[in-house]
């Protein structure tokens, strides 16, 4: 295609569709830029900030920034990697993430991201917030302790399910996921088949009765780190 523009990521020349974001362009050529709040098929949110890259020397989220001809993107530099580590550690200490008994363990993107970055334990003290959970729904369980407010369920419910089951209330550190009802989750029109449930990157939104279904060794991130599926595209070309 002749209408493609050219830019560079870490010195590698990349051809991209002019309507694409940096992340989409990078994905296409097998360069993985870490992300948690972004999910293909949903509008970009730009909230986790893990995909922060340097664009012509300025920090910019790759998931929302459109590519431009001649743009110089740096993603794999010590400074950028350090920011990403700090952000992952922030997400861990902000909530209560008990990987050892979480049923999303091994399939959890936050956990996988920590492994990818070699984070054994966060350097910041845990905040240990007191958070509640909602088990009112017959088929769905919500645990706020593990929610990272990435808004993937919010967007998936709107954009994929054509509903509005989720939203946010409160602000700052008190910002939290809320349901579209005066009461608990059971009073919303959430159904167990909703795609919103598949959008959760962590163990906050879970279908009941499915816990630990996949044996250890066969889970999504048991063998290859998160992002490998994208990096495989590079190997293929």
């Amino acid at each position: 295609m002749s209408d493609r523009i050219t830019f560079s990521i870490d010195g590698v020349r990349v051809k991209a569709h002019p309507d694409h974001t940096i992340m989409e362009a990078a994905d296409e050529v097998g360069i993985y830029i870490p992300r948690l709040c972004h999910m293909p098929g949903l509008s970009p949110h730009g909230s986790c900030r893990l995909c922060t890259v340097m664009v012509n020397g300025r920090p910019t989220p790759a998931c929302t920034q459109p590519v431009a001809d001649g743009m110089m993107v740096e993603s794999d530099t010590p400074a950028v990697l350090e920011h990403r580590k700090v952000l992952i550690e922030m997400l861990f200490v902000e909530g209560n993430h008990f990987c050892m008994f979480c049923e999303r363990s091994g399939n959890c993107e936050l956990q996988a991201m920590a492994y990818r970055f070699g984070i054994a334990a966060p350097r910041f003290p845990y905040i240990f917030p007191k958070r509640d959970l909602d088990a009112s729904h017959p088929h769905v369980f919500f645990d706020r302790n593990r929610c990272i407010t990435c808004a993937r369920c919010v967007r998936a419910s709107q954009e994929l399910d054509g509903k509005h089951v989720f939203g946010f209330v409160g602000r700052g550190p008190h910002k939290r996921l809320a349901f579209n009802s005066e009461g608990p989750l059971a009073e919303t029109d959430l159904e167990v088949t909703d795609k919103a449930l598949d959008a959760c990157p962590v163990g906050a939104l879970l279908r009941k009765g499915e816990g630990y279904k996949v044996p250890i060794g066969e889970r999504l991130y048991d063998h290859e780190p998160i992002g490998s599926e994208i990096e495989a595209r590079k190997a293929a070309t």
């Binding site: 970009p44 730009g46 909230s47 986790c48 900030r49 893990l50 922060t52 920090p59 989220p61 929302t64 920034q65 459109p66 400074a79 350090e82 920011h83 700090v86 952000l87 922030m90 997400l91 200490v93 902000e94 350097r123 910041f124 003290p125 905040i127 990272i148 407010t149 509005h164 989720f166 939203g167 946010f168 209330v169 409160g170 602000r171 700052g172 550190p173 008190h174 910002k175 809320a178 349901f179 579209n180 009802s181 005066e182």
Partner: protein
């Protein structure tokens, strides 16, 4: 009861065209009728506006002035910004609590008063201050607090608390506030009398592109603090494709220590509105909106009367000054009230708020000049910037830019408060040194000055010869003076706490970073800090600055980093290294306290 609530809410939503863009108005009115916005009311508002209920709840919970729980008959909000804290907030807060028998955040049993604290309400030059419902009370003393509560019990009308009105338009019949302007230095540009139609008639005598060229020739930079070239911003908006365009005035003056926009709104509304009208002509907009911070609600009726008068004089509305232009030019302005959210001073958050959403900043690009309010190209400028625009049209670009420095042309309004004998508003030329300013304000004893509010920099005497200007010490106007004996770390703490409270919570670095900075700083202040804690704060700050989504998060660590640069010794004096193998940050007694209760025994002390 429910039936009447239903009818009431339906009527209010109907009055506002059942439009989400009037959420700020609708929720404010519902609250004034019902005392609060209870869960049921949110459901009804959502139904009337045909929007998801969770978004109404999200909206209400975002703004500090909106509540889902019934408050007392009166809400008293004590300003707790750093300056108020220095000038007696604690004393006044204690007295209120004593007299009312409640703590902050509580309501008296008889439902008389709810007592709260609120971030800077723009009255630092007459601190301590408070809001009694919409009424501002200033220069609070023990006697005044007792009088306020006694009188309020008798007549229940906060407006009657104003016994002596302030100067200028503070005494206007539609304002009647005890607020003082405290204009200490009337500058050559902004605080001068004006001919109400002059700027507009001169603009209409030029083409819109010529008007923009004049602003560029004057080298006008935005006065809100970021210093973006105004002419360029307008040009982007003018060149953008859009069925219509909007001119938005940022009157959400929320940076602690800033109150100069309040004085402009009180004394120079005509110049602000003239500047907005010129903007409408230049960018091709027919509608302007002033986003006025909730704390300045007492100015609303007055400002609306000025708008009415301007409509009557043919300076607003249909066919403005027809003798000066060949093509009819229409432009009108309305005022929308904010509801207590500092982040809404960020231009894209302001737009979200006006659209009826939580005040979350938006992703950029697109920039507001391309896609702003409701997706239409929009410009957002500060109150003072619009005044500068009007003045540039009045006197010409050359006269305007004669003043100031090569990089920062013109004058700047500064709000000076804290440890100085002449707090108030100063119109100074850019390029004035901090030392000169401190002399003018009689604050020569200063040991530290916060330039640009909490999001600015804390500088010590070694920086007092630096100049105010975008090329050196940039400021949106806040100058807080700290005299000998002030505890620097306490000041930093109040700023960090402010940002933690005012973060919108959208992005990780700001939402979590502020909490980590506050906790670490508190540990240091309690004497449990270790040398590594400084490193921890610097690490967190670096990521907040680089990775945050908007200016709030990008600057929220400035109090920590700038005080570490200028006053590192104050931190280091409190640090010590723990015995080998121990972390001083870890409080074993506290950690086992809960278990000790369960086990019904006292924990052994002094593990540290």
């Amino acid at each position: 009861m429910n039936e009447s609530m239903e009818a009431e809410i339906a009527r209010i939503c109907e009055t506002h065209g059942r439009s989400r863009t009037r959420m700020l108005e609708i929720t404010r009115e519902v609250q004034s009728h019902l005392g609060c916005i209870p869960a049921k009311a949110m459901t009804l508002i959502a139904r009337e506006l045909s929007i998801p209920r969770v978004e109404v709840e999200g909206f209400v919970s975002f703004y500090a002035f909106l509540s889902d729980r019934p408050p007392g008959r009166h809400v008293i909000r004590l300003c707790n910004c750093a300056v108020d804290r220095m000038l007696g907030f604690e004393r006044i807060a204690e007295l209120f609590q004593e007299e009312l028998g409640i703590g902050l955040g509580e309501t008296t049993q008889d439902g008389f008063v709810t007592l709260e604290s609120t971030p800077c309400s723009g009255m630092c030059d007459q601190a301590p201050s408070a809001l009694v419902d919409d009424v501002v009370v200033t220069d609070l003393s023990r006697e005044k607090v007792r009088d306020i509560l006694r009188e309020l019990r008798v007549h229940g009308d906060p407006r009657q608390l104003v016994h002596r009105q302030g100067d200028g338009n503070n005494a206007h019949e539609l304002v009647q506030a005890m607020v003082h302007n405290n204009i200490r230095m009337e500058g050559p540009l902004l605080l001068t009398p004006l001919n109400r139609g002059e700027a507009i008639s001169k603009a209409l005598g030029m083409s819109p592109t010529e008007v923009i060229r004049v602003l560029k020739a004057a080298r006008l930079l935005g006065r809100g603090g970021a210093g973006f070239p105004t002419g360029m911003k307008w040009e982007f908006c003018r060149d953008a494709d859009g069925e219509k365009k909007y001119v938005l005035c940022n009157a959400d003056e929320g940076e602690p220590g800033t109150f100069k926009d309040r004085v402009l709104l009180t004394e120079m509304p005509d110049r602000i509105f003239a500047g907005m009208t010129v903007a409408g002509y230049a960018v091709g907009a027919e509608e302007g909106i002033v986003y006025l911070r909730g704390e300045y609600a007492y100015l609303r009726r007055f400002l609306n009367s000025v708008l009415d008068r301007r409509r009557g004089d043919g300076l607003l509305g249909k066919d403005i000054l027809p003798d000066h232009t060949s093509k009819p030019f229409n432009f009108d302005i309305r005022i929308e009230m904010g509801a207590g959210a500092y982040v809404c001073g960020e231009e894209t958050a302001l737009i979200s708020s006006l659209e009826g959403f939580r005040g979350d900043p938006k992703n950029r690009p697109p920039f507001p000049a391309q896609k702003g309010y409701l997706g239409y190209p929009s410009i957002v400028n500060n109150v003072e910037t619009f005044c500068c625009v009007a003045k540039i049209l009045e006197v010409g670009a050359a006269t305007f830019s004669e003043l100031g420095t090569a990089h920062s042309s013109g004058t700047k309004l500064l709000s000076v408060s804290g440890d100085c004998r002449r707090p108030g508003v100063f119109e100074v030329e850019f390029g004035i040194t901090l030392r000169e300013l401190l002399e003018l304000a009689a604050g020569e004893d200063a040991v530290a000055v916060q330039v640009g509010g909490p999001s600015g920099q804390l500088v010590g005497p070694e920086s007092f010869d630096r100049k105010i200007g975008f090329e050196d010490l940039a400021t949106g106007g806040s100058i807080m003076v700290f005299g000998p004996g002030r505890n620097i770390l306490e000041i930093v703490h109040s700023f960090v706490e402010f940002f933690e409270e005012e973060s919108c919570g959208y992005c990780t670095p700001c939402r979590v970073g502020n909490v980590l900075l506050k906790q670490t700083l508190e540990r240091i202040m309690e004497g449990r800090g270790e040398p590594e804690d400084i490193e921890l704060m610097e690490t967190v700050s670096r990521t907040m600055k680089a990775a945050s989504r908007c200016g709030l998060g990008q600057t929220a660590s400035n109090p920590v980093t700038s005080s570490l640069a200028s006053f590192r010794g104050k931190y280091e004096a409190l640090l010590s290294t723990a015995r080998e193998g121990r972390r001083r940050a870890f409080d074993l007694d506290a950690a086992v306290a809960e278990a000790a209760v369960v086990a019904n025994r006292e924990p052994a002390r002094s593990h540290n």
